[in-house]
Symmetry: C2
Subunit: 693 residues, 2 copies
Amino acid sequence: MVNPLLVSKPYCRLVRLAGAFVAVLATSGPAGADEGVWTFDSPPAETLQSRYGFTPSVDWLDALRLSAVRLGGGSGSFVSADGLVLSNHHVAKGCLQALSTGADDIVRNGFHARTRAEERPCPGLDLRRLESTEDVTARMRAAVKATDDAAATAERNAAIATLERECREKTGLRCEMVTLYRGAFYHLYRYRIWNDVRLVFAPEARLGEFGGDPDNFVFPRFSLDFSLLRVYENGEAVKPAHFLRWAKKGVEDGDLVFAAGHPGSTDRRATVAQVVYDRDIRYPLMLASAKRARKVLEEYSARSPESARRAAEILVSTENWLKATSGAYKALREPELMAAKTDGEARLRKLFVPVAGQTDPWAKIEVATGKRARDAKSRWAIGYGFQTLFGVGGQLVELANETALAESDRLPEYHASRVPQIVHRLSAGRPYYKDLEIARLAGIWQEAIDLLGKDDPFVVRVLGGKTPLAAATAAVEGSRLDQVAERKKLIDGGMAAVMVSTDPLIVLARDVYPLRRRLEKRHEIEVETPTLQAGDELEKIRFALYGKDAYPDATFSLRLSFGKVGGYDADGMLVPFQTNLAGLYARSFAFAGRPPFDLPARWLEKQRDLDLATPLNFVSTLDIIGGNSGSPVVDRNGELVGLIFDGNLEGLGGRYAYTDRKARAIAVDGRAIVEALTKVYGAIPLADELSRR
Amino acid sequence: MVNPLLVSKPYCRLVRLAGAFVAVLATSGPAGADEGVWTFDSPPAETLQSRYGFTPSVDWLDALRLSAVRLGGGSGSFVSADGLVLSNHHVAKGCLQALSTGADDIVRNGFHARTRAEERPCPGLDLRRLESTEDVTARMRAAVKATDDAAATAERNAAIATLERECREKTGLRCEMVTLYRGAFYHLYRYRIWNDVRLVFAPEARLGEFGGDPDNFVFPRFSLDFSLLRVYENGEAVKPAHFLRWAKKGVEDGDLVFAAGHPGSTDRRATVAQVVYDRDIRYPLMLASAKRARKVLEEYSARSPESARRAAEILVSTENWLKATSGAYKALREPELMAAKTDGEARLRKLFVPVAGQTDPWAKIEVATGKRARDAKSRWAIGYGFQTLFGVGGQLVELANETALAESDRLPEYHASRVPQIVHRLSAGRPYYKDLEIARLAGIWQEAIDLLGKDDPFVVRVLGGKTPLAAATAAVEGSRLDQVAERKKLIDGGMAAVMVSTDPLIVLARDVYPLRRRLEKRHEIEVETPTLQAGDELEKIRFALYGKDAYPDATFSLRLSFGKVGGYDADGMLVPFQTNLAGLYARSFAFAGRPPFDLPARWLEKQRDLDLATPLNFVSTLDIIGGNSGSPVVDRNGELVGLIFDGNLEGLGGRYAYTDRKARAIAVDGRAIVEALTKVYGAIPLADELSRR
């Protein structure tokens, strides 16, 4: 299951992109636009050559790929020979929140380790680098023979598990299967994983998320959304073979740039039926939920300053999710999008010549989507609780039960290759605040009542006749799952420990587990499997029409985007390609320094020391979406010029279609980072480490 | 005739407003919005009290009215006991252009008189202050009895002339009749006139019009659009009894503010037929003309830097005109506007109970508008040339001929009360550049061919079988009307001098005069007179429905607007209520200091001396339109906090309807003026003169 709540994870700031829609529509394919989230083994070489006179060499591609990392829900890159990693402030925010206390609020105040000894491990954060990939489509095809959906699902799961295991045993790396082109290709992705990631530097939240929710998805923008972490192995800083050099010269208007990152998911190859489902069911469900969650969090935050501190990260994530979802929903309802989609599909469909008795793949997807709609509310209501302490209980129960099963029977998220990451996260010593968990869970269960009715089995079980608040209070107050030792005990104890636990959240999770498992397995068999099969057929038709000049929808795996630095005309307002430090002060002054436009005292004191012309943020036509947060932006020389941290409102329809007219990716300019480290934070050794080539 | 080309005059930067439309539509009248361009004798006291708890006293109103002035095509105010007047840079730009030479380009470099002796007279600029008004509606009604349109026109003209003359003789002031509520009321406005206005200070054009055409009508904005002039009488600076005190405290978000200025014209009481005429005939004509004029001026400017300098003012005005007209045209085509207008009119129309044989006033206006449409192209083609040197010839010929007629027969623009201003302008020593005049005239005559065909009598006469360029070259090269002495000789010589002149532009104008006179007179009799009569009837119906809680459409006479300082949400982007000096640098840096975002060297040198938090521009819901440029903005205490210089794009539909959702008036903040005078320009005595209370 793709947890619809990844939005509460940091990478969801970037719920945007741009893309394959044009490719579906135009006979010329994607040429003519800076479109695409390309795999590194199949870069858009011809387009780059024809549009920009640039052909990336194998070395160029390897150096970038092996510097790029995925961490948490976002992206980052190695930027020094001593394992320093650059990412966004908001990607590291989970770590900042976990390390913060009421007495030492590093989310608010920022963090600066002046020595290696002061660098602090980020609980639960892991980091991965893509070492290599392998096309195993042929072996997958050979392994999956059944025509029955249930049998085919089991065969596919078994084959994936086998291939992943073989790969792991052979390479010693973590191997994960990635399904590309919606089922047409299977690639094994081999990752190097590091679990000891330490916080080195983060600016104050006021800089990292300057402008807050009002400025989110907006440009001109003035955010210093970066953080520095260091990767350790056996207690020593790693020495990566590849890291990105800091560009000597920053970006200029019109420059060709690249981003290497992990776009979460796009739906550019979605059929009309799937887009209609998103428009009529998925997004209305998400929007209502996001609004409710925001209200709950705002009410909780209003209780006291400490409450506000505790809820800070998740409230920001929720506001971000709401703004992103609203934007995408607005784009979904544009008649032009649906018209273009319908037209493109009609064109492709003409090419389909059915063999005797064969069903049209679009019709197959429509049937599967109908089944998806049937279970949408139930899956949402149960799944939604999974990001709370209740979800921790659920994951502990599922981990014990699922790992006891054969790979072919497991829910996909508990495949052997995925288990270490789950264990790592559950074992992390991050803080849980029971009052916050109660408030959130009460809201979620009220939502379940509203969605499913009070007689639904899930609702009946979790409430046990109580109000949502009373039920949540009873379950959370009596639980010890907020203690990392308790969680570790249950992980290590496996099935036996989970079955005898009397922790109320574990008891509850044991009863909910069969309900959720049944729904998810049904989804896999009745929705995912036929959709993948139809996707494979669709891809053949598409290739016949457009050739291979295309890229797969995003899958939270490493991709290469390219684009041009450039401003735009926002309905009469000329938006420059970049902002600068003068603009940061200007916007703060314009709102009289009121939050979220306030600046820390040291920033006000240092104003006259700074070169106010220093570029702060810049925009480009890079094709990005949620998951790209923290992606390094490099120039033709492969040198670092900045890092992605957001996209603009005009790009929120990018999940379904790329456009470069006004949609832009927003990046922090590397020069602002050096200027701030040097002149505001007195972090000269760090600035030197970044500049060392 | 209202010259449709007033746009080439500076005040047309402000072709915007907001207004009476809501009043027409809502049974509650204008309450609930900061709407209206109110006469000082009938301020919106109840609305101000109910919305803001403020009732302006008679003294408060008098002090503001007697500090406000009209100058050129815009507005301004007395701001010192020694006759200093504050207005916009762009209102004074005609003066700057007239005083500039290739060797001393004060448009570009700015101007700063360090002593009174250095203050330089502005050729042709006059300034007026409204001393008092008198309602003479009863006398006008008594005088105009005829039912025949031609006779009624003559009666009205005669009555106006008589009343104006009596008033002038009695008061020694210039008296002008102002028709309010589209014909329902006649008021005599009594003005004190000054013709000796001298330039004291103007910033560089780069500051006065920072951001150029791209930023025109845009907010956030960073323009120091102000100038200082001084009024002289008998060689001495005047000592005005009233002048505005500089506010000790600047504006804050939410503050109630007022503007006293001269909005040019609005059409909020226009009928559906009139709005349709504007949409389908007037605006398309203007837009095509503006585009052609811009092209001509751009081509001329490209010839050399000196050409660019010569055409600078008119090119900026033309771009401004084009942007404003495009915005208003876009608003005109919004179905909502037409729907609201149609609905409001239908509501009013139900109340109309015709007396036997009486025609419905809307139908009368529709008939008149049809006649207006008939002559639209001819009037445009002939009138359009009137802003060139060809127009100077035309005005000299018309002045001689019209002033020889009885008042009742004259074209309205040559009524005795208007003659002194025409003479003053024609007698001014402003430069004309023959190559520029030839280029413009050739473009205008080509447009005449395109609009009227090559066989039209006007076209045949002006071209004389030549191409537009050849004809324009012949007429302009041979003319001496660019010399002020020649113009004065023709003014002083009257009809005799004009009739014997062999100056080719005078010869041409003598032949064109009867053509234009016939068209304009027909317009007056067949369009204006019936429209005024119907307007009077409409007003009675409107009063019956909505009471007296309304204000008349703008007439380029003194009005009071009120509004609230405040930002807005521009489709997801939070726009603050103000900008600051940091923002000026930020926008310049963002475009790497490229024009029109370049800053003079002294501004770059003084950056660190300035308090960058100093407010620069601010927005409010003040109801303004073209002509309000330079209007003083005062607070509840009647103290000066800034001056109007523009409106935003969102307000360009304000000619037909006021809205306060996103439409905003843009003002220069007084604090930026003092900061710049003090720290950049070293104009401390001037800053002191402004601050003296």
